[in-house]
């Protein structure tokens, strides 16, 4: 693995469900060691992009390279956090057991997890403030707790490239903060993270780089260069206009109320 190679490089990637192309001629380069957000409207192919990189969905055309090598040789270098809703949380297993699944890849066939793996799993649970839940049934967790356990599993999996599918969907503020802290810690350790994200207001705060996706890549690179009104409009089309109107109204309202408050203070 050369340091110069991008963590992930896609060239001309085209993916279709049945006869409908979802991703069309996608070119994307994710440099090693960055925190990249993937944003775009519903149906833009964000989750599809992650699944195509993992080889869960077959691509019709294009090349996927992971740290400079074809994907098939690098499968174990990619970690994955699926959408929380993609699994049955009534499955009979405990929180610790679920996190231990992250160690299965390096254990290889036939071997069972031992004390070293258990210790790593417990540490990961501590890291996401879920240590006291280790022996709970996974069905007893709240949405935010489920997401933290998923993250602990990815932490244990310890892959240099981590793909996360909407980890912030439907979680509370505490969990969101824990997730952000952990993502930053992982990046400091030299990991690369590609995260599908929905909330445009937090993109600048959370990510170094952003990819705007709507069937194709509209723009990708540093947040300051790419997260512009022009490119966002191109990505979201008409729907963003409404969003912008709402934002403008909101900002006038808040500035009005601020000035009113200041006026009030001045009167005092």
């Amino acid at each position: 693995m050369l340091d110069n190679d991008p963590a992930l490089s896609l060239k001309g990637l085209t993916v279709a469900y049945d006869t409908e192309p979802v991703l069309w001629n996608v070119d994307l380069e994710v440099p090693a060691g960055v925190l990249m957000g993937v944003v775009g409207p519903n149906g833009a192919g964000k989750s599809t992009l992650l699944k195509a990189v993992l080889g869960i969905l077959p691509s019709l055309a294009g090349a996927i390279r992971v740290f400079g090598q074809p994907y098939s040789a690098q499968r174990t270098l990619i970690g994955y956090v699926p959408q929380r809703s993609s699994v049955d949380w009534d499955f009979p297993t405990t929180v610790l057991d679920l996190v231990l699944m992250g160690t299965y890849g390096r254990l290889g066939w036939f071997r069972r997890p031992g004390n070293a793996e258990r210790k790593a799993a417990r540490q990961a649970l501590e890291r996401v403030q879920m240590a006291e839940f280790a022996n709970r049934q996974i069905g007893e967790l709240s949405g935010g707790q489920q997401q933290r356990v998923f993250l602990a599993r990815a932490f244990v999996q310890d892959a240099p490239l981590l793909l996360m599918d909407e980890p912030f969907a439907g979680v509370d503020a505490t969990t969101e903060q824990t997730l952000v802290d952990l993502m930053r810690e992982l990046r400091q350790k030299g990991k690369t993270l590609v995260i599908v994200h929905h909330d445009l207001t937090t993109v600048c705060e959370y990510f170094d780089q952003v990819a705007l996706l709507n069937r194709k890549v509209i723009g990708a690179g540093h947040v300051s260069n790419v997260f512009t009104t022009e490119l966002l409009e191109k990505t979201y089309g008409g729907s963003l206009n409404q969003c912008k109107v709402a934002c403008r109204q909101f900002s006038t309202l808040t500035s009005e109320s601020i000035s009113r408050n200041q006026d009030g203070h001045a009167d005092d």
Partner: protein, 312 residues
């Protein structure tokens, strides 16, 4: 026959051992079908296997002049027909806009229908095919028909299926819970899926003679559903379901042998249903009674005069 006579009878001990093994194997494997919501797949394999049973029976007649009812001949037929039904379902789902459940329903109807047509024809054709008597027992099962050879066939296949399950325990577990994540661990998920379906097919076809093709699905799913109520761990669930299946198999064969002309399948189904209902009612935590108690306790806390303070 009296119970004592039954237990000392050599033939009957074969039957007891056989049905207990069938129950234990299909109970254990059924947990995976239950957790993957694949009960319908199991039912398609079981019903479709009748077609394979009839084909292989006829083939043995054409080859030897005597139709064979040995499981050594008929189980391979059942495996072929069950697998063919599943492969056709997959092709239909991939090539057409039909959804999985409707394609499965269609395949079940086609294969089971063809099986019934062949069965009726074999029963009525003149001159009669030697060995045809008792073929109709494959519908609802007749454990007493089990021979020593059948027992060996059931034992070897069941042992192999359980061995695969134990060796690939953690792979099958993570694949069943989270197939997308197991893919990212580097597992060949398509192969794991095929393997899991294959051991499920084995877990079903070993029961076609004793339990019958119509009701075999009950011995696969009901013990798993009952076991799920009592535990929060997959390992415990598999052991409990396996024990439940074995007990149901034993009860079924004893009752069906004691009262002659009672088919084994329905008795086994009744026994497993009883255990299932008791589990639904009485299991701690998930059971209906336990949840009712919990709720009434909560209600009485709420009705106390100083309610509205801290969470109970």
């Amino acid at each position: 026959m009296l119970m004592i006579e039954l237990l000392t009878d050599y033939t009957f001990r074969t039957v007891l051992l056989g049905t207990a093994m069938i129950g234990a194997v299909s109970g254990a494997l059924g947990c995976f079908a239950y957790l993957r919501r694949q009960s319908l797949i199991g039912d398609v394999v079981s019903h479709s296997s009748l077609f394979g049973v009839m084909l292989f029976f006829l083939a043995s007649y054409w080859l030897t002049g005597q139709g064979s009812k040995s499981l050594v001949v008929l189980i391979p037929g059942a495996i072929c027909a069950g697998t063919a039904a599943l492969l056709l379902t997959r092709t239909v789902v991939q090539r057409t806009r039909l959804k999985q459940d409707s394609s499965l329903g269609v395949m079940l109807a086609i294969f089971f229908g063809a099986g019934i047509v062949l069965l009726r024809w074999v029963q009525r054709v003149d001159p009669p095919i030697p060995g045809r008597r008792g073929l109709e027992d494959y519908l609802f099962g007749m454990a007493a028909a089990m021979t020593q050879d059948d027992l060996w066939m059931i034992g070897i296949l069941g042992f192999l299926a359980i061995l695969v399950m134990l060796l690939l325990w953690k792979e099958l577990k993570v694949y069943t819970f989270d197939p997308l994540f197991s893919h990212s661990l580097g597992y060949r998920t398509a192969k794991l899926d095929t393997l899991l379906v294959m051991i499920l097919v084995v877990g079903i076809v070993i029961g076609i003679q004793s339990v019958g093709v119509v009701l075999m699905i009950a011995l696969l799913i009901t013990p798993a559903s009952a076991a799920r109520q009592w535990t929060r761990r997959l390992g415990t669930m598999v052991i409990l379901a396996s024990l439940t299946g074995a007990v149901c198999g034993l009860v079924g064969s004893v009752i069906s042998a004691t009262y002659s002309h009672v088919p084994t399948g329905p008795v086994i189904v009744l026994a497993s249903t009883l255990i299932f209902v008791v589990s639904l009612m009485l299991a701690p935590g998930r059971g209906i009674v336990s949840r009712m108690l919990h709720r009434s306790k909560l209600m009485s806390t709420i009705r106390q005069p100083n309610a509205g303070g801290d969470l109970p």
